[in-house]
């Protein structure tokens, strides 16, 4: 479906120096520098997958997305989308692509929502049957009919996002890029949009590529993650698999009557120690929880305890932490 091989993209940027002299200098002697936004990236995505494409700001996420849509041409490398090169066959590729950019709407700001859909219907030459069918299916999930006569500028952020999602899926695209689709929404809004994405993926067998900073999105939606940092792919695999690999530890939180000052254990690390609570991090490949508990109970009197699995948040923290 999507095959990317050795993709690289370089940009020329002009560095600015501070202050008056810096401003003057950059007029006459601009300081140019080559930046590798994407550096030798390869991956392939199959039909119907929901892939989370995540990484810190400036990691090269949106550059990759633009290249995949054919908006931006790569410096080197090959891309095939349904066997076609988006650089050469842009119009054919984008006919089957839908996009949502959470920060930037594609809807017409001043007029009723329905008009934006009418325009898309003409641009994508959607026949009446498909159009009505798609609208009614999405109405069931997003209750779009109640918004269709309201000018977009009067919609709340969540309502507008519903409109943007409908706009992206109207022409039954086979590939959808969602860039921060839940940004700025309340919990309820986020939930309904996640539910929609899940359903439409099951219904249409559409491939969805999701870039987001919201890790709840990732945990709920993505069966696969591609993590990118500084233009390079750091990890590519299933969610569980990545967590096991990057952060194969668990956290044991023990409440005790009193923690002795000279408390010490083997095979684990004391993350935090309070008066009568202690946080222990341990590698689950080296020691099991029960072994550790047995070991501790020799030294202190346990009142209560809990075990916490590491999650995607720990993974991200781990990876981003290295990049700083």
């Amino acid at each position: 479906m999507i095959v990317v091989k050795n993709l690289s993209k370089e940009f020329l940027v002009i560095k600015k120096s501070p202050g008056f002299s810096g401003a003057l200098k950059s007029i006459f002697f601009p300081d140019k520098k080559i930046v590798h936004a994407i550096d030798n990236v390869s991956f392939s995505i199959n039909r119907g997958e929901i892939v989370g494409y995540i990484g810190p700001n400036g990691a090269g996420k949106s550059t990759t997305v633009k290249i995949l849509c054919g908006i931006l041409h790569p410096t080197s490398g090959t891309i095939l989308i349904n066997g076609l090169d988006p650089q050469k066959k842009r119009q054919e590729i984008v006919r089957n692509i839908g996009t949502v950019f959470g920060q930037r709407t594609q809807l017409y700001w001043d007029i009723r929502l329905g008009e934006s859909f009418e325009l898309l219907r003409r641009i994508y030459r959607i026949d009446n049957e498909t159009y009505n069918h798609n609208l009614s299916v999405m109405n069931e999930m997003l209750q779009i009919n109640e918004l269709i006569d309201i000018p977009v500028r009067q919609l709340s952020l969540g309502q507008r996002m519903r409109g943007d999602l409908v706009a992206a899926f109207l022409h039954s695209p086979k590939i959808i890029f969602l860039d921060e689709p839940t940004i700025g929404l309340d919990i309820q809004g986020k939930k309904s949009i996640r539910k929609f994405i899940k359903n439409i993926n099951r219904l249409n067998k559409a491939t969805i590529i999701l870039t987001t900073h919201d890790l709840d999105d990732v945990e709920e939606l993505c069966n696969r993650l591609i993590i990118i940092n500084k233009g390079r792919i750091v990890e590519d695999g299933g969610l569980k698999q990545i967590i096991n690999k990057i952060t194969p530890y668990r956290l044991l939180i023990v409440d005790a009557e009193k923690i002795p000052v000279n408390f010490k254990t083997e095979n684990c690390e004391i993350v935090k120690s309070e008066l009568n609570r202690i946080h222990l991090k341990f590698d689950k490949n080296k020691i099991t929880a029960s072994q550790l508990i047995a070991q501790i109970s020799l030294q202190i009197k346990i009142v209560d305890l809990s075990v916490k699995e590491s999650d995607i948040e720990d993974v991200i923290e781990n990876i981003y932490g290295q990049s700083v």
Binding site: H73, Y108, L119, I123
Partner: protein
């Protein structure tokens, strides 16, 4: 082919409808534009009349003839504002990422760029121009023959294309050098000043530039000179209304080529 044409026409119609609806949402905006544009164009007329009544003539052109030039200039300006206003804001469109959106559509990018905005408020520019044109016509005793009416139509189309082409050429610089359309504002002031008076007031070298390189002479000066039978540096036995249309089409194609090249550059570099 027919299916293709139908598709593009239906999209054009839809864009036009949305543009009207969008502008109808803010009816009070119209007041400002009516007041401002009427003041601007009738004020300009008044300034020309003031100068001409004091000085008598300008390089052999009488007051009413200069007003005729001026009216052609204002109408064609109004037509640009109605149909091609987006050619003034290419730099802004790049900065906010509008071209990303255009490139995401399965249609020709240049076509989408041209039809995406039809600015009916531009009528507030065209109407003063038309009024001044009829005023000038009665002053110069314009002969309303069928041929002359056709000529005026061709001239206005050609003049609008020339103006648009020039805006598109300077606007396309934004694809190479990111900027906030400063040159478009310059282009507007320049066109307005240079097409309101006969270009025969300039030295020969400037006249040549304004004829072949930046062909603003064809917007108002050359057509008017033919109606009045006034000699110019371009003494060819040629109908100037066709010449204007010809120059308009040539320069429009040239500009669209530069625009498309710029868009390709945008695709390779981004913004």
């Amino acid at each position: 082919m027919f299916r293709w044409l139908k598709h593009y026409i239906s999209v054009t119609n839809c864009f036009a409808r949305l543009a009207i609806q969008r502008q109808m949402e803010y009816p009070t905006f119209l007041f400002g534009w009516i007041a401002g544009n009427f003041l601007q164009w009738f004020g300009g007329l008044w300034l020309i009349q003031t100068i001409m009544s004091r000085f008598g003539d300008l390089a052999g052109w009488k007051a009413e003839q200069v007003i005729f030039i001026y009216s052609l200039s204002v109408i064609s300006h109004g037509l640009v504002v109605i149909f091609f206003l987006q050619t003034w804001v290419i730099g802004q469109m790049i900065i906010v990422g509008e071209f990303d959106r255009i490139l995401l559509r399965p249609m020709d990018s240049f076509f989408l760029f041209i039809v995406r905005n039809i600015n009916f408020v531009g009528i507030t520019d065209a109407i003063p121009g038309i009024i001044i044109f009829f005023h000038a016509c009665s002053l110069v005793k314009f002969h309303w023959s069928f041929v002359n009416i056709v000529n005026i139509g061709l001239i206005l189309i050609g003049a609008t294309l020339i103006r648009t082409a020039l805006y598109m050429l300077v606007g396309s610089i934004s694809f190479w050098k990111i900027n906030r359309d400063a040159l478009s504002v310059l282009m507007m002031h320049f066109q307005q000043q240079a097409t309101s008076y006969p270009i025969s007031i300039y030295p020969y070298s400037l006249q040549v530039i304004f004829t072949f390189l930046i062909p603003i002479g064809f917007i108002s000066f050359y057509p008017a000179s033919q109606f009045f039978g006034i000699g110019t540096i371009l003494d060819i036995p040629f109908n100037f209304s066709f010449a204007t249309l010809f120059m308009g089409v040539i320069f429009f194609f040239l500009a669209s080529y530069v625009f498309t090249t710029g868009l390709k550059k945008y695709e390779s570099v981004g913004n």
